[in-house]
Each structure stands twice: as structure tokens, then as C-alpha cells.
């Protein structure tokens, strides 16, 4: 070997020889523990408050490796992204933890599910609180994911080169909605039973395969044991896996596609460094007139051609505006994460998750509303033909959103240069919000108009 590759055959230097300053010998029991082979097999290097130490911190830690080692300083500002994607991820984490707790006390059976909920409420220490936190986090997650989408749209951050990540994000939104919807049924009370009845019957309006789809979803003619088990399996196994997987892709792509950062003089959020013209170009005829000139150092040079102005450029010098993720970004994320946890905990303490009477297929409550994120669709169904309201509008909106980054060829990201896109989006958004608010708060028995100050029919 050493004959063939003499340079590479050198034995690797001892770690301490390579980094003599890494483990400065100090007195004391902890210093000696940190010197042991065991400790150093777990933590490859100590905390060093140097640029190198901070980079090593990211390189050698699988969890920190989610982050880039350095991020542009502007990313640190709260208003850069409002941390909405991160907040949604934190909420998902809270939902996983509280959800696993709830699984210990829940059996997906029509005979025992409701009893389990009551038992959780009265007989399990902190059971009600964990359920409350789970429910409010779920509602909040839907809200935050939608807000994330709105924010990314308004910032124009879905444009090249981030088109595909926008589509992945859309998939995450759909999974989040199904997640929340499947969880809605599990308490098996009147609220969950009829909300899911109304929600799954929306699927019946899909042409041709509607009945088949709703049959697959609920496992029969009407909601029963088969539905409960299906929703449970989706909720605790299939969807967490799908969401986790897609979330990995999503975060990975954020890193690989680059942060949407305003740079240089041309359009904000443009991909790379901007190009600027250097000297004003010499007019072609002037330049060609003197075909041979003597330069300062005495050489004769001849102009052979004139190139277009555009190519006489130089890269604007990039100032290094990046900062280390550890600790700058991480500290902010910890603070926001704790804030989210505190918020849902406060919500859980203040408001109890509803539990109505046990589900009764023979008693329809007045009115029966879909879960709040689908109630806009239900309201729309009240005004238009089912094919339009139930199918064309929701699938149309989703389809347009999915192909949006590929059909929107406008490279601009500022609102003033995207008047059509922004106005169309805002109009649809306002319509969706109005429909949802009307359906949620202003509809009473028989879907008649009842303002919430007369009677409150809001159910969450």
C-alpha cells in the first residue's frame, strides 16, 4: 500500500496531537470525567466558544445537523418568517407527545371510547389537561400551517428555486387537515360523530367515485366501529409517519434551496448575487477607430471586437452577513418553542375540550356542523350546486396552488410588482375566511342565519 499511495499511508495523528488545545487539562472531578474515553466517545469535542467550536457543535450533533452551520443574519429577525413553519413543527411535536399519553388511556371501540374519555376526564391525573392541550394544539396547528402558506405566498418565497418545496408544503397542509379530521371522531361523542358524518358526506359529491371513496374512508354505509378503527389507525400510525417523512423533505429542501433572503439591488429574495455594470461601455465606432494603441507598459494591443454592455459585469462583493446557527438561531428557536408550549398550556388550563353526550346515530343535533376548517365548504354547499361547491372549488383551489410556482413566471417578490397574484390570492383568502366565519358562528338550526350574539352555535 505504502508504495502505491505514499502520501495517504501516514498513520492518522492522535486526536489530542491534532487538537492540543481541545481538552485543556484542568483540575477537578468534571475535567477528569471529560477526559475519560467514555465521555469522549459520546461528546467528540468540548464546548469551545470559538467559530471553530460552534461549527463543530453543528457538525457533530445529529439534531443540530437539521440546521445549517451558518445562516444569513436577516433570517434571525422574527418578522423574516414569523417563525410560522417552526411553530407548526413545534405544535406537531407537542401533539405527538400529548397524543402518546392519550393512547395509554384510549381504546378505539364504540363501546368503550366514550367511557375512556370520561375516565380520562375524571379518573386520570392531568388527563383532562393533556387532552385539552392536544385539542387546542391541533386547532392551532391547522391555523398556523395556513398562516405559513399565506405568509410564504405574500413574500413570494415559493418562486424559483423553491417551487417544489411549496408543493411539499401543500401536501403537509392536506395531511394536517386529515390528521385533525381523523382525530375529531375519536372521542365518539355527538359533536365528533355528526361533524365527521357531515365531513365524510362531502366526499360523496365527488363524481363517479364519490361513494367508493367515502366507503373506503368510513368502511361501510355509515359511521360505526369500522370507521373508528380506520380513523384511529390513520391518526396514530399512518399520518404521523407520512407527516414526519414529508416534514423531513420540507426542512431539508429549505436548507438545500437556500433561504429566501433579500440580496443586492435587484428584486428582493433573488437567488444569487446581483450583477452590476462596471464602466460605461465605449461606443463601438470610437473603439474600432483606433485599431492599435500602445499601452502604458509599451505593448501594442489591438481591439478586435466590442462586446455587449450586459456582459461587462462584475460580481458585487458579497459581505459575509451570516452568523452561526449555534447559538444565535437556536436560542431564538428555544424561546419561540417555549412560548408556543406556554401558550397551549395556558389554553389547556383555561378552556376544556368539549365532550358532549355519547354518539347517537338516531339523534341529529341542530345544527350539525363540520369541523371548523371544513365549515366554509359546508356553507358554500348551501349556496351552490354540490358539484361546484363540493368538488370544483376545493380541488380547483388546491390544484391552482400546486401548479402556482410553475405558472407564475413573474420573478418579482415585492407586492407592488405582483398586483394580480396578490389581489387574486387575497380575494380568495377573504372569501374563505368569510365563508368559514359565517358557517361557524352565524348558522343555527336548519342552517338558518343566527348571529352569535343571539345564540352561540360555535363548536370547536
Amino acid at each position: 500500500m505504502s508504495d502505491v499511495l505514499p502520501d495517504k499511508a501516514q498513520p492518522a495523528p492522535e486526536r489530542d496531537a491534532l487538537e492540543p488545545d481541545v481538552y485543556p487539562v484542568r483540575e477537578g472531578i468534571f475535567a477528569r470525567v471529560r477526559h475519560t474515553e467514555t465521555w469522549r466517545s459520546v461528546f467528540r469535542h468540548p464546548h469551545l466558544d470559538t467559530p471553530r467550536g460552534r461549527a463543530l457543535q453543528s457538525f457533530s450533533n445529529v439534531f443540530l445537523h437539521i440546521y445549517p452551520v451558518k445562516v444569513p443574519a436577516r433570517v434571525l429577525r422574527f418578522r423574516y418568517s414569523w417563525r410560522l413553519g417552526y411553530i407548526a413543527a413545534v405544535l406537531f411535536g407537542i401533539l405527538v407527545v400529548t397524543g402518546v399519553y392519550l393512547m395509554f388511556f384510549y381504546t378505539p371501540s364504540v363501546t368503550s371510547a366514550y367511557g375512556d374519555m370520561q375516565q380520562l376526564r375524571t379518573g386520570v391525573g392531568f388527563g383532562q389537561l393533556v387532552r385539552n392541550v392536544h385539542r387546542w394544539s391541533a386547532h392551532l396547528m391547522v391555523l398556523v400551517v395556513v398562516a405559513h402558506l399565506v405568509r410564504v405566498f405574500l413574500a413570494g418565497a415559493y418562486k424559483r428555486p423553491r417551487q417544489f418545496n411549496w408543493v411539499v408544503g401543500l401536501g403537509l397542509l392536506v395531511i394536517t387537515l386529515i390528521f385533525s379530521f381523523t382525530g375529531y371522531l375519536l372521542p365518539w361523542d355527538q359533536l365528533s360523530y355528526w361533524a365527521v358524518t357531515v365531513g365524510t358526506n362531502l366526499v360523496d359529491y365527488v363524481p363517479v367515485i364519490g361513494n367508493l371513496l367515502s366507503g373506503l374512508l368510513i368502511g361501510g354505509e355509515q359511521i360505526g366501529q369500522a370507521t373508528l378503527v380506520r380513523f384511529y389507525a390513520l391518526h396514530v400510525a399512518v399520518l404521523p409517519g407520512a407527516l414526519g417523512l414529508l416534514l423531513m423533505v420540507h426542512i431539508w429542501r429549505v436548507r438545500k434551496d437556500g433561504f429566501a433572503v433579500k440580496r443586492g439591488g435587484i428584486g428582493a429574495f433573488s437567488e444569487g448575487a446581483s450583477e452590476v455594470a462596471m464602466d460605461p461601455p465605449v461606443p463601438a465606432e470610437t473603439a474600432m477607430a483606433e485599431t492599435a494603441v500602445v499601452t502604458e507598459d509599451g505593448r501594442r494591443v489591438r481591439l478586435l471586437g466590442v462586446v455587449d454592455r450586459e456582459s461587462v459585469t462584475a460580481e458585487e462583493r458579497l459581505t459575509d452577513d451570516t452568523v452561526f446557527t449555534w447559538p444565535h438561531m437556536l436560542v431564538r428557536h428555544v424561546v419561540v418553542g417555549l412560548g408556543v408550549a406556554a401558550t397551549v398550556l395556558a389554553l389547556g388550563v383555561a378552556f376544556a375540550a368539549p365532550l358532549k353526550d355519547i354518539a347517537n346515530p338516531n339523534l341529529t343535533p341542530e345544527p350539525a356542523k363540520a369541523p371548523w376548517y371544513f365549515v366554509g365548504l359546508q356553507e358554500l354547499l348551501n349556496h351552490f350546486d354540490p358539484l361546484v361547491a363540493g368538488i370544483l372549488v376545493p380541488t380547483g383551489v388546491l390544484a391552482v396552488l400546486a401548479v402556482l410556482p410553475y405558472i407564475d413566471r413573474n420573478p418579482a417578490t415585492e407586492a407592488r410588482n405582483r398586483k394580480v397574484a396578490i389581489s387574486a390570492f387575497v380575494i380568495i383568502l377573504v372569501l374563505a375566511v368569510v365563508l368559514t366565519v359565517v358557517g361557524l358562528a352565524f348558522r343555527g338550526p336548519g342552517w338558518k342565519f343566527v348571529p352569535p350574539w343571539d345564540h352561540n352555535y360555535i363548536e370547536m
Binding site: W194, T197, V198, T200, N201, L202, D204, G215, L216, I218, G219, G220, E221, Q222, G224, Q225, A226, R230, P361, N362, L363, T364, P365, E366, P367, A368, A370, Q378, L381, N382, D385, P386, G444, P445, G446, W447, K448, V450
Partner: protein, 164 residues
């Protein structure tokens, strides 16, 4: 593309992958297709035609349908509203079916009168076996379109809905 050994093998692997995917899809479908045992409950004997007076609707719990006598015509009307699947109750005072969820109203024959329902109430076929009426709840006849008014009559009295 020439049929080299490499291409043959490459396409062979793709074909195997496709077969495997079809097998997985078939298995998934067989496992997850709607269970027939969860259907409403086969053929149900509901008694003699004379038991059901004109203008009344009787609820048959085991089949989840209403047996309605509309001017001598007997219909087995599915309780499931064609709109969004709520259970449609019969209102004795108005003599109509009134869905509490979203305000769809149907006449005694299950024909649409008002509300968001896209059609009249769905029906099950009724047959006579000797003197006994038999309703086949496994079969469903899609309800009549909005135009049907064969059994329409003005409301007999006040609606059962809250606040109306």
C-alpha cells in the same frame, strides 16, 4: 433501444416493481374496502300494507328507514339525508320530512321541497311477499330530482324546527 442484456434486465426489474406495486394495491384494496357486514341489514319484513295508514311515516329501526304511505303509494325512505348524511326525522305536525341539520324539507313521498339537498330522499325497493311487505335495504334507488311534485301538499301545520 437495442435489446441488450443490460436493457432486458433493467426492464425486467421495472416490470417486477410494477407487479409488486399492483399486488400491494390489490392487497390494500381487499383489506380496506367497505365491509359488507356494516350495511343496513339485508331484507327486512315490515308487516302488512294495511298497517300503514295514508299520510303517515313509520320508522323501522333495524333498517334505518321510514316506511311512508303517500296517497296509497308505499315508500321505504332512507333516513340518510342526500345532502350531508344527517338523519331526517318525520314531523307529525307538518306531515313532512324536515332535516334539522341544514334545513332540507321533503314531502311524504320523500320528494324535495326546499333546502340544500341535491335531490329527494333515497329509497329502498319494496316488494310484497304474500301479505307481508319486504324492504331490500341492500339496494338503494336514488331519490327523485328537484322537479318531482307527485305527492306535494301544503304543510299540514307548524314545522318541527326550532325557531320557525
Amino acid at each position: 433501444m437495442a435489446l441488450s442484456r443490460r436493457n432486458l434486465l433493467r426492464n425486467g426489474w421495472k416490470a417486477c416493481g410494477g407487479l409488486l406495486a399492483s399486488a400491494a394495491a390489490w392487497t390494500t384494496w381487499e383489506l380496506l374496502r367497505p365491509l359488507t357486514t356494516n350495511a343496513a341489514g339485508g331484507k327486512i319484513k315490515v308487516g302488512s300494507a294495511a298497517d300503514f295508514a295514508a299520510g303517515t311515516a313509520t320508522y323501522v329501526r333495524e333498517g334505518r328507514f321510514w316506511l311512508a304511505n303517500a296517497d296509497g303509494h308505499l315508500f321505504a325512505l332512507s333516513q340518510k339525508c342526500p345532502h350531508l348524511g344527517c338523519r331526517v326525522p318525520f314531523c307529525e305536525s307538518s306531515g313532512r320530512f324536515e332535516c334539522p341539520c341544514h334545513g332540507s324539507t321533503f314531502d311524504i313521498g320523500g320528494e324535495w321541497i326546499e333546502g340544500p339537498s341535491p335531490r329527494g330522499m333515497d329509497r329502498h325497493p319494496v316488494s310484497v311477499d304474500g301479505d307481508i311487505l319486504v324492504v331490500d335495504t341492500d339496494k338503494k334507488i336514488t331519490g327523485p330530482d328537484h322537479g318531482a311534485k307527485a305527492f306535494f301538499s301544503p304543510a299540514k301545520g307548524p314545522s318541527c324546527r326550532e325557531g320557525s
